[in-house]
Amino acid sequence: MRNGLGVSDALLLTSHRSDGSFYGMAKEAPVQKQSDVLQGTLDLMVLKTLEAMGAQHGYGIARRIEQVSRDVLRLNEGTVYTSLLRLQQQGWIASTWGVSENNRRARFYSITGRGRKQLVAETENWERISGVIARLLQLAPGGDL
C-alpha cells in the first residue's frame, strides 16, 4: 500500500472517496487527472511556504510541507517540481541558482510581487470554498440549506 499512496492521501484530503474506488481510478486514469485535483492545493501550499520562509529550494519546500502537515500529508516529493515549474511559468515565483547545505548546486525559488497578489486571492478563495464545504458537511440528513 505504500507505493504511490502519497498521492492518494493528498487526494483524500480534498475529496471524500472510499479507498476502493480510488484504487480503481488510480489504475486507469492517467497521472494528469489526479494532479488536476491536487494541483491547486499544492500550488497554494508552495506559494504560502515561499511567502512565509523566503527563498527556498525544492527540498526545503518539501521538508516544510512535511513538517507542517505532521505526516498527515505524504507527498511524492517530485510533484513539488511540477508545481514550481507551473508557478514559475505564471510568473508568480522566480528562481536563482545557489548552493545547497551539502554544497551542491541547487535552484532557489522566491515569491514575486504578482505571486503575493495571487496568494491573497487564492487564500480568500480557499477560505470561501472550505467554508461552504464545512457547512455542507454539517447538514443533517433531510435538512434544508
Binding site: V31, N76, Q90, G91, S100, N102, R105
Partner: protein, 883 residues
C-alpha cells in the same frame, strides 16, 4: 495574462530546451542527495538511504517527462515527429504518393485559378473612393423586361434636387469620338457629362482642372478632360498638355485636365466632355420619354441602397401617374459593382467556382480512400502501436499528419498549376468581363489556397484517422498470419467514399453535358444573315465637314463605293446597327399603322429602327421575302419608305400583305412611311436572343453620321483591313476606323462566355471521371487481393473464370448504381443553379444525365475489369498455399 507568460516561457524554451532539461536533472539530483544525506544522518547505510530517497521522491522519469511537456509545445513537437514519420512513409512509396499529390494538385489548382478570377471580378472593390456608395439609377421597362434601361434628363434633374439621398448625381452620355489631329486619326471611347461627374466618381485632377458649371453651358468654349491612359498613350504623359488644343472630329477643343489613373467610369472611357446642357435646356431634352442618358450617383453617407430605392420608387410612381408615356416604367438603383458585373456573369463565376470545389472534394475523397487503403495495409503496425500504449489520438494524429503533408505538397503544386491555369483562362476568357485582366495569384488568393490545404487535410485525413484510431490490437493479432481482412466497418467506409465520389462525378458530368448541348445549340443558331466573309468597322463623319444630311449621305456613298472597288470585295454597305450585338445604335421605337388610334386606345408595336444603305440586305445576306430592297431611287426627296422584318409583319399585319401599307413611329419621327418590302428575321440583340422586330429605313432618308461599314469578301476578311483602310482614306484621310472585326469575331465574342464555362465544366467533369475511375479501381483491386483465397477456392470447386469476372464487376456495378442514384438526386437538386447558364436546354434534361451516367458506368466497368480479369487468372493452388 498568466497564460501569456506561460506561452512566452515555452517559446524561450524552444531555444533552450536541452539546457533546461540538464538543469532540471541537476535540480532533482540535488534534491535526492539532500534527502539521502538526511537518511544517512538518521543511520541508514548510504545505499539504503539513496533507495529510500528515490522512493520518497517518486517516479523521476515520469516527472521529467511531465515537466518537459509543460515547458514546451508538446503537441507541436509530436506533430513534427509525425510529419517526419509521414514523410518517410511517403518517400517509401513514391508511386502512391505521386497519385495522391497529383489528385490534390488538380483539385487545389483548379480551385485556386477560378478563385483568383472570382476575386478579381467579383470580390475586389472598384477603384473609386468609397465605392460602396456609388450607384447607377436606371429605368425599368416592364415591356422590354429590363431594369437597366437609359434614363431621361428630367429624371436626373429630379435626383439632383433630392438632396436627402445623393451627395451628387451626374448624367452620362457615352459616345465615341475621333481625335483628328496628328498623323493618324483615332476613334476613342468618350463620355459627355456635367460638372457633378467628378464629385460622384470622387476623383481629383492629376493635372489642370475639371469642369465648372460654366463649361457645361450650351455655347461655352469647347473643353475636354483626358483620361490618364489616353494622356500616357497618345501624349506620352507630357505634363505641359494643359491649355493645348486638340481636334475632336474636326472641331478644335482645349485640354483642361487629366484624370488620375483608374479614376474614370466607365473604365474604358478616354475623353470626358461637357454635355452642354447647363442653364435652361430645350423642352425636347426635358421630355420624360426621352430616355437618352445613363446616370451615376453617389449616395450620402449613411443612406442605404434600400432606403434610396424606396424613395425613388415613390418618386417614379408619382411620375407614372402624371405622365402616360411613363406608365410601364420605374426606377431601379443598382450598386455600381453589381451593375458592372451583371447577374449572369456573377452566377456563371460562382457556378464554375462551385464546380472546381466539387473537383477538390472528389480529390479529397480519393485521397481519403488511398490513405484508408494504406491504413488497412498498416493495420498490424497500428495494432502494435496501440498495444504499446499509443493513444487513439496519437494514432489518428499520424494520419492527419500524412494528409497534411500530401495537402501541403498538393497545395504548392496546385498554386503553380493555378498560376498557369489562370494565364490560360485570361487568354481564352470572353472579352466582355470587366477587370478580368487584373486576376492574379496575390496574397488573398494564397491565403485562400492555404485554407484549401487545411480543409483538404481534414477532409482527406479524417476518415482514415477515425478508422485507424479504432483498430483493436487484440483482433488484429488474431488475424495475423492470414491476409489481413479489412474490418467490415472500414470496407463500408471505403464503399461510402467511392459512392459519394461517383455521385459527385455524375453531378459534374451532367452539368458539363448540359453546357455542351447548350453551346452546340447556340452554335447552330441561325442569326438570319450569312456570317462568313464579313468584315465590319465603325466610322463617323465629323459634323464639321459633313454638316447636312445630304452631305452625310453622299459621304457614306462615296466611302462604300471606294471600298467596293477594293480587289476581293464582293459588296460593301453601311448600317446603323449590326446583328448579334455586333455594335452600333440599337434604337427602339414604337409604331402604329395608318388609321390606328394612338395608345392608350390601342397598343403600339415596338421595333428596332435600323438605317441602311441600299446594298445592306445583299451584303449581309438578309433575304427580302416580299417586295423589294432599297434602291438608289429612294432619295431624300422621294416617297418615305420602310422595310419591315417578318416578325414585325406578322404582329402588325397578321392578315394579308403589308406591302403598300403605311406606318409611322409615333412620338419620334412621326412620318408615314410606305412599306415596300418584308425582310427575313434577324437576331439583333444577341445570338441567344429571339428574333427581334425590325424596321429598316434608307440612309438617304435618315442620314446618321455614325455608321458601321459591312464588307463582304471572297478572301479571308482580316487580310482586307489594310486595303479597306486605304480606300476609306482616299475619300477622306481624316476618317478614323474603329472596332474593326469580322462577323465571325462578333459571333465568337457572343459564344466566348458560354464556351468558356462549358470548357471548364468539361475539364472538371473529365477530371472527376478519372478520379472516380481511380477510386473504383482501388477498391476493386483491394477487394480482389483480399478475396484471393476465396476466389481460389471457387475456381478449385469449378467456378468458371467468366463467373469470377462477373462476380467482381457486379460488385463494382452495385457501388456505381448507388453512386448514380444519389448523384441523380444531387444533379436534380443542383439543376436550378445551371438553369440561367443554359440556352434552349432544360436543366433537367434527361439526355445529359443519361449520357453522363452511361459514360460513368462504362468507365466503372473498365476500371473494375482490370482487377477482375486478374482475379479470374488466380491459380487455385498458389492461392490456397498462400495460407
Amino acid at each position: 495574462m498568466a497564460r501569456v507568460s506561460a506561452f512566452v516561457a515555452k517559446v524561450r524554451n524552444l531555444f533552450a530546451g536541452r539546457r533546461a532539461d540538464r538543469e532540471f536533472d541537476q535540480e532533482l539530483e540535488a534534491h535526492i542527495s539532500l534527502l539521502s544525506d538526511r537518511y544517512v544522518r538518521e543511520g541508514m547505510t548510504p545505499a539504503d538511504a539513496r533507495y529510500a530517497a528515490l522512493r520518497q521522491f517518486g517516479n523521476a522519469t515520469s516527472l521529467r517527462e511531465t515537466c518537459t511537456e509543460m515547458r514546451t509545445f508538446a503537441p507541436l513537437q509530436t506533430f513534427c515527429q509525425d510529419l517526419r514519420y509521414g514523410a518517410r512513409l511517403l518517400r517509401r512509396s513514391p508511386g502512391w504518393t505521386l497519385v495522391a499529390v497529383l489528385t490534390l494538385t488538380l483539385g487545389i489548382g483548379a480551385t485556386t485559378a477560378i478563385f483568383s478570377l472570382v476575386q478579381a471580378v467579383l470580390l475586389t472593390p472598384l477603384p473609386y473612393p468609397a465605392p460602396d456608395r456609388l450607384v447607377v439609377p436606371a429605368t425599368t421597362f416592364t415591356r422590354l423586361a429590363t431594369d437597366r434601361g437609359p434614363v431621361a434628363y428630367a429624371d436626373v434633374l429630379d435626383w439632383k434636387a433630392e438632396r436627402g439621398l445623393f451627395e451628387a448625381v451626374t448624367p452620362l452620355y457615352a459616345s465615341n469620338i475621333d481625335i483628328t489631329d496628328g498623323a493618324e486619326p483615332e476613334r476613342v471611347p468618350a463620355i459627355r457629362t456635367d460638372e457633378a461627374y467628378f464629385a460622384v466618381v470622387g476623383s481629383a485632377p492629376l493635372l489642370g482642372r475639371f469642369f465648372t458649371p460654366q463649361d457645361n453651358l450650351p455655347n461655352a468654349p469647347r473643353v475636354v478632360v483626358l483620361s490618364h491612359s489616353l494622356w500616357n498613350r497618345r501624349f506620352g504623359g507630357d505634363p505641359h498638355m494643359i491649355g493645348k488644343p486638340i481636334e475632336l472630329s474636326g472641331v478644335p477643343a482645349t485640354i483642361i485636365g487629366v484624370t488620375g489613373p483608374d479614376a474614370i467610369w466607365p473604365s474604358d472611357a478616354e475623353l470626358i466632355r461637357p454635355l452642354g446642357l447647363g442653364g435652361q435646356p430645350a423642352a425636347g431634352i426635358l421630355r420624360r420619354d426621352n430616355h437618352a442618358f445613363m446616370a451615376l450617383a453617389r449616395l450620402k453617407p449613411g443612406v442605404s441602397l434600400e432606403q434610396a430605392q424606396a424613395k425613388l420608387t415613390v418618386m417614379a410612381t408619382e411620375i407614372a401617374h402624371r405622365d402616360a408615356n411613363r406608365a410601364d416604367t420605374g426606377w431601379k438603383l443598382h450598386a455600381l459593382d453589381a451593375y458592372v458585373v451583371g447577374p449572369s456573369l456573377r452566377r456563371t463565376l460562382w457556378v464554375i467556382l462551385g464546380a472546381a470545389l466539387l473537383v477538390l472534394l472528389i480529390a479529397c475523397v480519393n485521397v481519403a480512400n488511398l490513405l484508408l487503403a494504406r491504413g488497412l495495409a498498416r493495420q498490424r503496425e497500428i495494432a502494435v502501436r496501440a498495444a504499446l500504449g499509443a493513444g487513439r489520438r496519437r494514432i489518428a494524429a499520424q494520419f492527419i499528419a500524412e494528409s497534411a503533408l500530401l495537402s501541403a505538397m498538393g497545395g504548392v503544386a496546385g498554386v503553380v498549376v493555378g498560376y498557369w491555369g489562370l494565364k490560360l483562362l485570361v487568354r481564352f476568357a470572353p472579352p466582355d468581363v470587366a477587370r478580368l485582366e487584373q486576376a492574379q495569384i496575390d496574397v488573398r488568393v494564397l491565403a485562400f489556397s492555404l485554407g484549401l490545404c487545411l480543409v483538404t487535410t481534414v477532409l482527406a485525413g479524417l476518415a482514415p484517422a477515425f478508422f485507424a484510431s479504432r483498430i483493436a490490437p487484440v483482433q488484429s493479432f488474431h488475424d495475423a498470419g492470414r491476409t489481413l481482412s479489412g474490418s467490415l466497418r472500414s470496407t463500408r467506409l471505403r464503399n461510402l467514399l467511392v459512392v459519394s465520389e461517383l455521385a459527385l462525378a455524375l453531378v459534374l458530368l451532367t452539368g458539363a453535358g448540359l453546357l455542351v448541348r447548350s453551346v452546340s445549340r447556340l452554335g447552330h443558331v441561325e442569326p438570319g444573315i450569312v456570317r462568313d466573309g464579313l468584315l465590319t468597322m465603325e466610322v463617323s463623319l465629323p459634323q464639321a465637314r459633313y454638316a447636312t444630311e445630304p452631305l452625310v449621305a453622299e459621304g457614306f456613298d462615296r466611302v462604300t463605293a471606294a471600298i467596293r472597288r477594293v480587289p476581293g470585295v464582293i459588296d460593301a454597305s453601311a448600317t446603323s446597327s449590326l446583328p448579334i450585338g455586333g455594335g452600333g445604335n440599337y434604337l427602339g421605337r414604337s409604331f402604329l399603322t395608318e388609321g390606328q388610334p394612338e395608345p392608350p386606345a390601342s397598343a403600339d408595336t415596338q421595333a428596332y429602327w435600323t438605317v441602311g444603305q441600299p446594298g445592306y440586305f445583299g451584303a449581309l445576306g438578309i433575304p427580302i421575302l416580299e417586295g423589294r430592297a432599297f434602291t438608289p431611287h429612294d432619295t431624300a426627296t422621294s416617297t418615305p419608305v420602310i422595310i419591315i422584318s417578318r416578325a414585325m409583319a406578322k404582329t402588325m399585319f397578321p392578315n394579308g400583305s403589308p406591302l403598300g401599307k403605311r406606318i409611322r413611329s409615333w412620338r419620334d419621327e412621326d412620318v408615314y412611311r410606305e412599306i415596300v418590302g418584308v425582310a427575313g428575321d434577324v437576331r439583333y440583340e444577341s445570338l441567344a436572343g429571339s428574333f427581334n422586330k425590325n424596321v429598316y429605313v434608307p440612309h438617304t432618308q435618315d442620314a446618321w453620321a455614325s455608321l458601321i461599314l459591312v464588307v463582304r469578301t471572297r478572301l479571308d476578311p482580316p487580310t482586307l483591313v489594310a486595303s479597306v483602310r486605304h480606300a476609306v482614306g482616299t475619300v477622306d484621310k481624316k476618317l478614323a476606323l474603329s472596332n474593326v472585326r469580322t462577323m465571325e469575331q462578333v459571333v465568337e465574342a457572343e459564344m466566348a462566355r458560354p464556351r468558356l464555362s462549358m470548357s471548364l465544366l468539361v475539364i472538371f467533369g473529365l477530371t472527376a471521371l478519372v478520379l472516380a475511375a481511380v477510386g473504383i479501381y482501388g477498391i476493386v483491386a483491394y477487394a480482389v487481393t483480399e478475396r484471393t483465397r476465396e476466389i481460389g477456392v471457387r475456381i478449385a470447386l469449378g467456378a468458371a473464370r467468366t463467373q469470377v469476372v462477373a462476380m467482381i464487376v457486379s460488385k463494382a456495378l452495385r457501388l456505381a448504381g448507388a453512386g448514380l442514384l444519389s448523384g441523380t438526386v444531387a444533379a436534380f437538386a443542383l439543376a436550378r443553379v445551371l438553369e440561367s447558364l443554359l440556352y434552349e436546354v432544360s436543366a433537367t434534361n434527361p439526355g445529359a444525365l443519361g449520357a453522363a451516367a452511361a459514360l460513368l458506368l462504362t468507365v466503372v466497368v473498365a476500371a473494375a475489369s482490370v482487377p477482375a480479369f486478374r482475379a479470374s487468372r488466380v491459380d487455385p493452388v498458389t492461392a490456397l498455399r498462400g495460407e
